[in-house]
Symmetry: C2
Subunit: 551 residues, 2 copies
Amino acid sequence: MAASQHLKIVIVGGVAGGATAAARARRANANAEITIVEKGPAVSFANCGLPYHIGGEIEQREKLLVATKELFWNRFRIRVCTGHLAESIDTKNQTVTGVTESGDTFELPYDKLILSTGSEPIRPDFCNVQAANLFQLWTLDDMDRIIAYLKSAECKTATVVGAGFVGLEVVEQLHRLGLKVTLIERLPQVLGPLDSEMAKLVQEELDKKQVTVCLSASVSKLQVEQGRVSQVVLDNGSSQATDLVIVGAGVRPRTELATRAGLAIGKTGGLVVNEYCQTSEPNIYAVGDMIEYHHGTLNQNMRIPLAGPANRSGRVAGSHAACGKSPKMPSVQGTSIVRVFDVAAGTTGLNERLCKANNIPYACATIQAPHHASYFPGAKNLTLKLIYSPEDGRVLGAQAVGAEGVDKRLDVVATLLNFSGTVDDLAGLDLAYAPPFGSAKDPLHMAAFVAQNDLADYPTLASVDIALDGYQVVDVRNASEIEKLPLPGAVKIPVDDISSKWESLDPDAPTIVVCHSGKRAHIAASWLLGKGFKEVRNLNGGMSIRRLTNP
Amino acid sequence: MAASQHLKIVIVGGVAGGATAAARARRANANAEITIVEKGPAVSFANCGLPYHIGGEIEQREKLLVATKELFWNRFRIRVCTGHLAESIDTKNQTVTGVTESGDTFELPYDKLILSTGSEPIRPDFCNVQAANLFQLWTLDDMDRIIAYLKSAECKTATVVGAGFVGLEVVEQLHRLGLKVTLIERLPQVLGPLDSEMAKLVQEELDKKQVTVCLSASVSKLQVEQGRVSQVVLDNGSSQATDLVIVGAGVRPRTELATRAGLAIGKTGGLVVNEYCQTSEPNIYAVGDMIEYHHGTLNQNMRIPLAGPANRSGRVAGSHAACGKSPKMPSVQGTSIVRVFDVAAGTTGLNERLCKANNIPYACATIQAPHHASYFPGAKNLTLKLIYSPEDGRVLGAQAVGAEGVDKRLDVVATLLNFSGTVDDLAGLDLAYAPPFGSAKDPLHMAAFVAQNDLADYPTLASVDIALDGYQVVDVRNASEIEKLPLPGAVKIPVDDISSKWESLDPDAPTIVVCHSGKRAHIAASWLLGKGFKEVRNLNGGMSIRRLTNP
């Protein structure tokens, strides 16, 4: 580029980081020629809001339109070409060519190219039928078609395939519209990013709302009658009538354009980028769902199709492309959250599955605690699972489910993960406390205390799903709790009697102490250990969690 | 101590960490003889809940009684002696002596002593009158007497002296009871821990609820008639009739017992303790409001009479006294929060006053942003002020005021402070996002972006209270915004016109760009900088904050 010319920046794709990259590029370079080419009709829209407009929780469609073509021109002098599908990149001559909606071809020269082609929903084989009531939900257009169908046809039942984030949000919104909803999921649990016992809490919420949940179930066929899916046939042979099918089977990165240009693809199928979001071709950047991010806790690259990292990568790429400088792309932690009716559920860092798959030693501490001071009105129970290294106490991840305060606890742990913090760090955090907002001992502290006790053999925890045969099991709950959820074979000693009745127990027998959530069991187990019992453990999370693992 | 004997642990004071220390000591040592001597009638109660029972928000008094004498004995084999006032410590012979409610003396031998004598409300001179309607609020007994008076006397007006945490909570609860409340504060602002412009947002909430707020006002005299305060006389000579006076003028540590025992007192008046909460006498520990904590960000010791650190110090001291081991006492960050009617307000780390007093260079970035995705129903504005080092970008503190999500943002920053994180770290955090819980660019990210831009001269920020004379001031708000809150002398160019009208401005004049919150001004200021303007700054926080500083 001659010094007299202005830098030409072309961005392919407005959503998932592209629009952010463009705006950021402008702020970093007032003179660059910046162009966004976008295949769809809108340069930028709020993908995450789509399910909520279907159910009417977000009433106005225009709220989803984040920024218009006109705004980009007026405010940023950024040219937006919608209806422009980029088809190939000539990396040598630095041009992008493609075709417009009206069938014309276009060719754009670039000095710096930023790819933001995002991801697209996976379309399972069973979707290869023509049916007016079969949908996926990824674009404004998808949303509009679903809403139009709901208005035109009389739907009483709906089937949602896939119990991930979008699937669950769609279930809630269809339920809001009064439909009887069935949710079909291939895995033996809803919400794959959570460990199964935590996911079960979400499933209980779905049950409470009379959503029919079919787990470990695959759709083998959609039966079509008169141009509509009439029956969903599962691989176990059962079938079910339906008025509407929405498939949310995950997404895959849209990397065709990049692949054709010879850009490097990583092990997990996303584009490989460096810390400034440069691809294997340094003048070409890539951002958002199509790339691999560095997962900080896992210390590996992986795809995470979420808005937060997409946005951050857009900022990095936009700035670096425009002026050659930018803070580095931060690591991600896989933090995510979803609202499912009256509860929120989310995760950050590693779950048990990721630890196992990567041979990372881990331990778990699970607690139940009110989200703010228990004596203050409105306290709601939160279940928090902390995953940590048994070797050095480093926090590896957390999951939380509850009606209030889930996002806050995840955000604190996500912040801690950023600094490779330990359970001691977590236990010592100086968090904001007043009765309406938390507790002097926040659920985060409680979980950290449990982990600290475990690591210090003070006493250690028994895994939530441990087989209790062969143990001296001491149930320290009160009679009414035991009646509601019995634990056969346990010796019953309410916690307040342990100091007077402990001598009736066998100090040589390997012992597991159990209560509702693990708090009283910790007190009793410490007592027994202090009295010389040889091996005493506290059942992690108590019966409140165990009931979720041994139905 | 002979090996055959059990360790004798005596705890003086149940509240503010003492009860926690006792319970923790038991778990660390099943055989120790543990005794709590407490001068009051209850071993432990929820101090933080007292204001809320006065107004009836916490309905049942028994909810405030955290743990009873019986529970301590049955569950922990901890002996609780209420109505026992400890008067002296014989450090040589290791005994505590004192007097009981009934006038008997007692003497208790100890191997380890844990002091938790807490703090007591400061009683200003003007309180030295006999009046049945004059109260402070620190104990259950104080609360009971206030409630009894409110029931017996017909109160229509109330005066609260002191606009700190407790004062503000009391104001809200008296207002809830239908009283017309006047709040008197010595400082020129409410809520001293916040910087003045942030405190003003809280004051606006008080104004909205028709609370009369008198700032920079000291009580010179309480006029008493027929055994009741009838008039509150201020030092400016004005006076005001009142039916009830509650004074919340701060607290001071109760260190008399410790001082008499010759234990070291720190510069700020609290007991000096080491990382295991041992005083200058290693067998004597101290916890809670009476000690000095290490402030992590300030790297100095200071007193912080709050429940969170009290609790943590109790755990450390209890464990260490009982078995010689404990994690170290973590640093505090001075994190605190209060609900004032419909808003929450809080702080963590350093404020401007602390930075100035300690000659710490600092810069501020203040933003306004919705607490969750703006397109999702129920989004409420949050004002967030980030304080950071202009030298290395290290985050020094944060303050937030808003209807929702204040606690979450403070907790994230408190966590960041624990690791000496920077604004780059904050900008890169992978926080939990779904439309009901946050934004892909959370307010925390937005504040960090503003700070990053400032640090990178991209462009820098102008201080919220900068004098604008002599600057070329460019107001990029739209006409209706300007009409509501004019900025005389500014050149008006709406942000979307800046790219077409910038040439009408003087590129050599030092320029300050202004909008409502600073977001659009950033865009316009970047544009001007990019076009070669010599000195361009963005007014931090825009008019939404400036209006709070130049009334």
